[in-house]
Amino acid sequence: MAAIFGPGANLAAKLGLVGAAALTLAGLGWWWGSPRTDYKRNDNWFVDQTVPFSHAHHVGGLGLDCRFCHIQIENAATGSMPPTHVCMTCHSQIWTNAKLLEPVRDSLANNTPLVWNRVTNVPDYVYFNHSIHIAKGVGCSECHGPVDRMDLTYKAKDMEMTFCIDCHVNPGPRLRPADQIYNTEWHRTANTPSPQALMEQYHIPSRDLLNCSVCHR
């Protein structure tokens, strides 16, 4: 009776073991790495909207201030979407017949709200408050990126917990003077006050920003 294992069996067994190990490693790598890809996190992937609103046109081109549409952002916890009425402030005068804007006109005419697809989302147990970040010198583009260059809006930062924590550990470098908050192209220059000076100016930290209770309730 011939031997069960031929001369190639050793090699096959070794290859099999190495292959299994490689597969396991690759699987683990995929398991660990895939949620961290831009694709999975939806970073830098624009989101389709009913009305293809372009920040590049309105902010970058026309120079509208963020607060023109995102009203009350200095007092509000949530960065609300503008009511249809705000869109129609201008679009009752210009581009009144544009096909693109038909959903907006319909919304006002029928008193039915526009529905926008979410671009950024944080989990329900995170209570992000826009007003306090603006009051403490965190500019819009720190989290939302170069909105003035976005044709369709996309998520520019991953908004994972580490992203929040990095800044809560050391807010200074991410602060800017109060008059530059809404400047989405702002960059630190030689004339910018030092991070320490800005921290002092904004009275930061007034409390331990790493406490769980700062963001979670």
Binding site: A77, W116, N117, R118, H203, R207, N211, H216
Partner: protein
């Protein structure tokens, strides 16, 4: 056994009970067994584990793609800031009387009720019913459809039927028309009713509240010749005697009375502590905080009260009465001008007349109480009124009956049969209740938050109720319903309300109207003091001697009132103050009867009242007179009402003697009284002493000085802490519901409560001391103590419960993996675990939740956060303005709701904060101090002020 006990099993040291108490999750084994089909072997458990892992893996595979949509308004209301709450004043109207409230809105939807500090009945506090109104408002089961003889119809057809009724009324001047409502204090509704009665002079208006105050009304008629309301000023009373009194639990204005009463109960804050006596057949909240509580069945109570009356009014002797009567009478007389006596609605009219006479004799009028003209419109004896209606109906004299916001088919035995004789009956009700189903027409009534209205408080102060939201289901407002029967095209309700107030608002109507709406009260509308003279008949009134034998006392369910709140799950699952029962209303029996019939809690008995029989379970109530049974009405609704409990209304209506016989079988009752026991052998959880002891040893509650070295000093800018004054707590449960509403706490249902899985973060423990026959009662609110050295934090394997720099013990839901070690290690037993997805299972629309608080998922531990969302809102506002959070800026939900200001919360590092002052009180003590947990929540020990001349077991 001396010391404090919660239930009779504990007092008797029942081995089964002790075994249960020693375990953290005593029902777990049983629960697992019942939840699994068959008995799973090891293999099945492993399979389940495998499935759980696989599902966990799948759950981890969700893409980072943001789901969901954002829906902005077409037009945003002016002044609305997304995420910032708005507040609008209104009132909670209960049995006609208004309790001023302020409703908190998030993005224009009501989510929370607070008291209105401007309103004299509220002073900023509420009762549990007002707190629970937000859930009732969003109840998907509210009536939404006009019905005609059980078939869906519409408003047009109803209006046609009303027009037909009007034609008939024009022919016979309204002789066949009857209107039935509850008590009416609303000036607008009253004006409409008066107009109806003027237009159709032969029409009649009847009033019916199942637990009316007829006896008090008739007593006033004997004493003063006309109906009159008493407005007590309990902050001015040194000696208070309650005779089976509902002074701080049911009488209109009780929220205010509780505040006034407890303002004289803490000897560190009042120079002269008041003294409270209670004589009662069954426990009341007033009796529970009284310095002397005398248990007396109806016969003994009658004898005693007659002896007191004789001594006060006629200088008679008390020789034949119990020995404590003479010192009581002396005390009352010595407090001339500072004494007040109150009797409950169960006591006969003649007794109420005698009490008017005694109060006048004791000189309290003008100081401890005032008399005002009745707040209710055309106050009348309601049981007589309903009897007249039933008689007219049975005689066929009624062709059209309009019932507004009343449920007599459920609450009045015999009414349903009488209703059959009415050819056209119209019910305008908030929910599709028994009456709505029995009437030929029924239509939804607008909720008090959906329409304009007005109502008056206990002292006559009027509130204009403004709508808080557009009607969710459409509906007819009460004033509109009445107006429809005089006028085919009545003015809108707003115009009706404005017409009421136009004459009194004078020249600048618009600004007077706006300020009345903003303040939540119409200024200067409190009733003027009456100058009625006491008639000599008052002192001569002689209440009939109650017959001997077992007496049954029908009372409104403490959590459901007369049944009008039976559809509200928060209130169904609200542990009743003494028994801590939920979702049920067994017959409450005295311990002596239980001994005699060998009954245990939950045993079935056959109850027979005047020949009508009913089989129902019993519950032993310590402190109940041996010849008294207590039956709570309101549960057992046939339609609506969540199908819980027993309907006891069929037994009511007569001054009844009852017999109880043991029946076969038992019934499962859910009570939380034995849940969350602190160490079972601790005997002085509630520290207390007499005023005399306090005066000699003010620090009696502090056993040892703690070594300061172990203290933790978190570095945060504020240090949150709470003080709970046990001298103030009356056990009313307003805080429990306030917490539930504020913190998105789900209800779990009766079966889950039986397994000790109730979710309320704040509970009120009730302890007894002494014998079951005559115990002393203590209430102790229990919530997370926010220990500086928290045992829960040490055992959490994932750091889901940690301390923050402001001294809060925070619970991080997204870290929690559900080991429940923390709950096991918590000596105060204040942690709650989501065994199921309770939050997701709630039958309430998403818009009704508080958006600032996470709705916890399955498998997550939760507990009191000191209303972290309120702290966070305050610190964000303060940080934006670069200042510290103010000393009184954060108020927790329980603190805001508490009628007696038992809770004080604030920053203990700020010397201006109230909590610092409270914690400096010599009465301040830490619960389970020997555990060295250094809790941030401390208690002020209870001091009672017994009469030294009355020898009693009470310590």
């Amino acid at each position: 056994m001396s010391g404090q006990w919660r239930c009779i099993e504990q007092l008797e040291r029942d081995p089964a009970f002790l075994d249960r108490a020693a375990r953290e999750f005593p029902m777990l084994a049983e629960a697992l067994a019942s939840e699994r089909a068959g008995t799973p072997g090891r293999r099945q458990v492993l399979r389940l584990f495998g499935a759980a892992l696989a599902m966990g893996g799948l759950a981890a595979c969700t893409s980072g793609k943001p789901s969901g949509v954002l829906i902005p308004a077409v037009r945003i209301p002016p002044g609305l800031v997304p995420g910032q709450p708005d507040h609008y004043a209104t009132a909670h109207v209960h049995a006609g009387y208004a309790l001023g409230t302020v409703v908190t809105h998030q993005m224009d939807r009501p989510i929370k009720v607070e008291g209105n500090p401007n309103h004299p009945s509220s002073l900023g506090a509420t009762d549990p019913f007002a707190q629970a109104e937000v859930l009732s408002f969003y109840d998907p089961a509210r009536e939404a459809q006009v019905m005609n003889r059980g078939q869906p119809s519409d408003r047009q057809h109803l209006l046609t039927a009303v027009a037909d009724a009007r034609a008939h009324m024009a022919a016979d001047k309204g002789a066949g028309f009857r209107l039935l409502t509850g008590t009416v204090t609303s000036p607008t509704l009253a004006a409409q009713i008066d107009r109806l009665l003027q237009t159709w002079p032969a029409a009649r208006w009847h009033q019916w509240e199942p637990f009316s105050r007829d006896n008090a009304l008739k007593g006033a008629q004997i004493a003063y010749g006309s109906a009159i309301d008493v407005v007590p000023h309990l902050d001015a009373a040194d000696v208070i005697l309650g005779i089976d009194s509902d002074l701080i639990e049911g009488v209109p204005g009780w929220v205010r009375f509780a505040r006034d009463l407890t303002s004289r109960r803490n000897p560190t804050r009042t120079p002269h502590m008041s003294r409270i006596y209670a004589i009662e057949p069954a426990p009341t909240l007033l009796g529970s905080i009284a310095d002397h509580r005398f248990v007396a069945g109806p016969a003994a109570l009658h004898e005693t009260v007659m002896a007191i009356t004789a001594a006060i009014l006629h200088g008679g002797s008390t020789a034949s009465a119990p020995p404590w009567v003479q010192p009581l009478v002396d005390d009352l007389k010595a407090a001339h001008g500072r004494a007040f006596i109150h009797a409950g609605p169960d006591q006969p009219a003649e007794l109420h007349a005698l009490i008017h006479a005694m109060n006048e004799a004791l000189g309290g009028r003008g100081s401890t109480y005032d008399l005002i003209a009745p707040v209710a419109h055309r106050a009348e004896a309601q049981s007589d009124s309903l009897a007249a209606l039933v008689a007219d109906t049975q005689a066929g004299r009624v062709t059209t009956l309009l019932i507004i916001d009343s449920n007599p088919v459920f609450t009045a035995p015999g009414f349903a049969e009488a209703l059959q004789c009415v050819p056209r009956s119209v019910a305008i009700t908030g929910e599709a209740d028994e009456t709505a189903q029995a009437c030929t027409w029924s239509a939804p009534m607008t909720h008090a938050w959906e329409s304009w209205a007005d109502a008056r408080g206990h002292d006559g102060t009027a509130t204009i109720l403004q709508p808080q939201a557009l009607p969710l289901y459409g509906g007819i407002a009460p004033a509109e319903a009445v107006a429809l029967f005089t006028d085919p095209f009545p003015s809108p309700v707003l115009a009706l309300v404005q017409a009421t107030w136009k004459p009194s608002f004078g020249g600048d109507f618009a600004s007077a109207w706006r300020s009345a709406l903003a303040a939540g009260v119409v200024s200067n509308t409190a009733s003027a003091k009456s100058d009625a003279k006491l008639r000599p008949e008052a002192a001569r009134a002689t209440p009939a001697t109650p017959p001997s034998g077992m007496r049954i006392s029908f009372r409104p369910d403490p959590s459901l009132s007369d049944g009008r709140y039976a559809s509200n799950p928060w209130l169904q699952e609200l542990p009743r103050p003494f028994t801590k029962l939920v979702w049920d209303n067994p017959l409450l029996i005295p311990p002596a009867l239980a001994d005699r019939l060998k009954l245990r809690n939950g045993d079935l008995v056959e109850l027979s009242v005047n020949g009508r029989r009913m089989t129902m379970p019993v519950w032993m109530q310590p402190g109940q007179a041996a010849d008294t049974l207590v039956a709570w009405c309101g549960n057992g609704r046939r339609v609506a009402g969540l199908h819980a409990g027993f309907d006891l209304y069929p037994l009511t209506g007569q001054n009844a003697t009852a017999t109880v016989n043991k029946a076969h079988g038992t019934y499962r009752l859910a009570s939380t009284i034995h849940h969350n026991l602190l160490f079972p052998d601790i005997s002085d959880v509630v520290k207390h002493a007499t005023l005399q002891t306090f005066q000699t040893r003010p620090n009696f509650a502090k056993e040892v000085e703690r070594p300061e070295i172990y203290h933790r000093h978190p570095p945060g800018p504020a240090q949150w802490a709470m003080s709970v004054d046990l001298n103030s707590c009356i056990g009313c449960n307003a805080c429990v519901i306030a917490c539930q509403a504020e913190n998105n706490i789900p209800t779990v249902g009766k079966e889950q409560v039986e397994m000790e899985r109730e979710m309320q973060w704040l509970r009120i423990d009730r302890y007894y001391e002494g014998t079951p026959e005559q115990p002393t009662t203590f209430f102790q609110p229990m919530l997370c103590m926010h220990c500086e050295k928290a045992p829960c934090e040490l055992v959490c394997p994932v750091g889901a419960t940690v301390h923050d720099s402001e001294g809060l013990n925070v619970m991080v839901y997204n870290r929690c993996i559900g080991t429940r070690f923390c709950s096991n290690n918590c000596p105060y037993k204040v942690r709650r675990f989501n065994f199921y997805d309770y939050g997701g299972d709630q039958q309430r629309p998403a818009v009704s939740w508080n958006p600032d608080v996470t709705v916890r998922g399955r498998g997550v531990m939760e507990k009191c956060t000191y209303c972290l969302q309120r702290i966070a809102a305050a610190r964000i506002t303060a940080d934006r303005e670069n200042r510290h959070v103010g000393p009184q800026e954060v108020r927790t939900a329980c603190q805001a709701a508490c009628p007696t200001q038992a809770f004080t919360f604030g920053d203990q590092s700020n010397p201006d904060s109230d909590v610092v002052k409270r914690k400096q009180s010599p009465l301040d003590y830490e619960l389970l101090e020997d555990q060295h947990t250094h809790p941030r929540t401390t208690y002020e020990a209870l001091v009672r002020n017994p009469n030294p001349k009355i020898a009693e077991t009470r310590a």
